[in-house]
Subunit: 388 residues, 2 copies
Amino acid sequence: MIPAPERGFTKAEFAARTVRAQTLMAEQGLDGLFLMTEPEVRYFTGFHTLFWQSPTRPWFLFVPASGKPIAVIPEIGAALMRQTWLDDIRTWSAPAPADDGLSLLVELLGPYAARGARVGVMKGHETMLRMPLGDYERLMSLLAGLKVQDATGLIRSLRMVKSEAEITKLRHICALGSDTFSSVPDFAFQGQAFEDTFRAFRRKALELGADDVPYLVGGADQGGYHDVISPPSRRPLQDGDIMMLDTGATWDGYFCDFDRNFAITRADDKSKQAYDTLWRATEAGIEAARPGATCRDLFHAMQNVISEMDDQGGDVGRLGHGLGMQLTEWPSHAAFDDTVIAENMVLTLEPSLGYGDGRIMVHEENIVVRANGAELLTRRAELELPVI
Amino acid sequence: MIPAPERGFTKAEFAARTVRAQTLMAEQGLDGLFLMTEPEVRYFTGFHTLFWQSPTRPWFLFVPASGKPIAVIPEIGAALMRQTWLDDIRTWSAPAPADDGLSLLVELLGPYAARGARVGVMKGHETMLRMPLGDYERLMSLLAGLKVQDATGLIRSLRMVKSEAEITKLRHICALGSDTFSSVPDFAFQGQAFEDTFRAFRRKALELGADDVPYLVGGADQGGYHDVISPPSRRPLQDGDIMMLDTGATWDGYFCDFDRNFAITRADDKSKQAYDTLWRATEAGIEAARPGATCRDLFHAMQNVISEMDDQGGDVGRLGHGLGMQLTEWPSHAAFDDTVIAENMVLTLEPSLGYGDGRIMVHEENIVVRANGAELLTRRAELELPVI
């Protein structure tokens, strides 16, 4: 088993993140950030729990212009939040549909509203409002005078660039994912129900040291699979299947996100050609992923190779994305995204192509961008489509 | 291994769900439901994928006053959605931050807005807005004239009562969870790092046939644990620890949600007493869970027993909840919830208490309410705190 790094982060790291946010807030004239989503609360506090899976309770964090963030959370989370670097933790007995934190928020933000302060809320691409819309509307009416500004860009710019401690966690889970994929020929076999392949994959990843495998999708069909987001069926793996497994496994709250393709007993020529095309497209992406290039550049570098063979155009919408506390994060390797790639961004390179009869093939690696180019976090896929 | 039931649902079930929704919509004067959250989209279509874990793309479903629902989704999901009973599937190449489905939504809902129609959106308790708030605001300004009404109550009333096919899935995953908990003494031991106990639990649940174990939290400490939502540490299980594991495992997209307590090598008297109190509180809940009783009744039935010993009051906020496609669903067993319990509701009974020095103990079973009372879906916890 690969030795695991330390869990968690130093208090200094949270303090540094907060100061970076506050510097940007000052530049943008923001008096505070009002946050409510899991990765953002964790980013500034270290508060880490799977309890977010329950939709029942909202959780709030306010980052003021200076000083530590302030948590406004259900009492059930108080013991865990007290283990973080925060000092000011305000709680209520939730759920309480009539007042699920609103009074506490009005108490905190009322003075900001009274002076017409500007507060950032995440309203942009790849965000959601993780509180009831009705409560949000009610809160805003109670805070009349507050100027709400979209803070997606600010948060995005912070979270896209990873610290070395974050990269260490990402490297670890990518290594565990690579080892799991290397074991696929040991546990997958012709005749195995595809859902059992999934179970075996998850069990192997856990055995190797992953905390969990929250994301696992895939496809398997004769001469190629047809979609890339399905849960598995009971259909047994068959001679001539092309099988793909795409996993988001986690360690200490950080994701890998990559896939591998396998042929069952034999590989058809078209699929071998698709595999080779995607392998080379990924190689072009690795080469292009340098500080100063844009995500659009990266997209075109991969697309140029893919277009040798692709018969459908980019209907998966993009050829990779950011990676960290979420399975997918900003930016997007797409023609619309002119984000400039910076050192210590962690990215997926995920070219895909359609080939005949609606078959699709995907291929994915995870990298961290360094001063002189991409460092692979995943162990590079085999040069030729492996046969099981 | 327990034989698994069939996956999925018949088209007739989705049709019946839709007609039930449309009947309620007619009663409430609603011309449509505009939905965007995973359980709701799945409830009306059967569209089932882990891809919702990626926050990048929004997914929309519109349920008109009559006829089948209409999907407005990213192209990457088209192949999977075409396998459902829907006919009208409209897609765009997402992500597309400049227009992530909005044009398609305006095309669909514009005529509704033009005639001042009333459309339901989920804005209430335990909901969230799973699209960027900025896009929602923009959409509403493009659909000026549309009357938006909170549809939480409507959806809640449908989803709280399960069909026999849903109950079959829930019974299966609860049985797998029970078998996994029965195996804990086989894989947990004094000296084991608690995070490895978690890995062993997940691996066992998968081995027994669970699709996944997305939720697993717990605690272990001398004479009792202190919080109930933490991820595990590397701390080894020690002589005199009280350990709790609380799992949400899934099968075919349905959750169990229950926990079990164990003492490591020996149990202290206080913890034994807490366990006994909670066991009897659960028994009172099982007895009280009958059609016609309210969730408040259920709460008080359990609270009356808990109060023999509890020293902190109900700071977890409630003593159980609904269960189904989500780890936690409406209703809540709490003083604020006067929901009348109905036949075929699937519920958790989850009494908890504080005892000395901030220690907490929780206890949980899953039931389905039948005409003549509760039917246990989980195998009842042992009468006395088990010692490993």
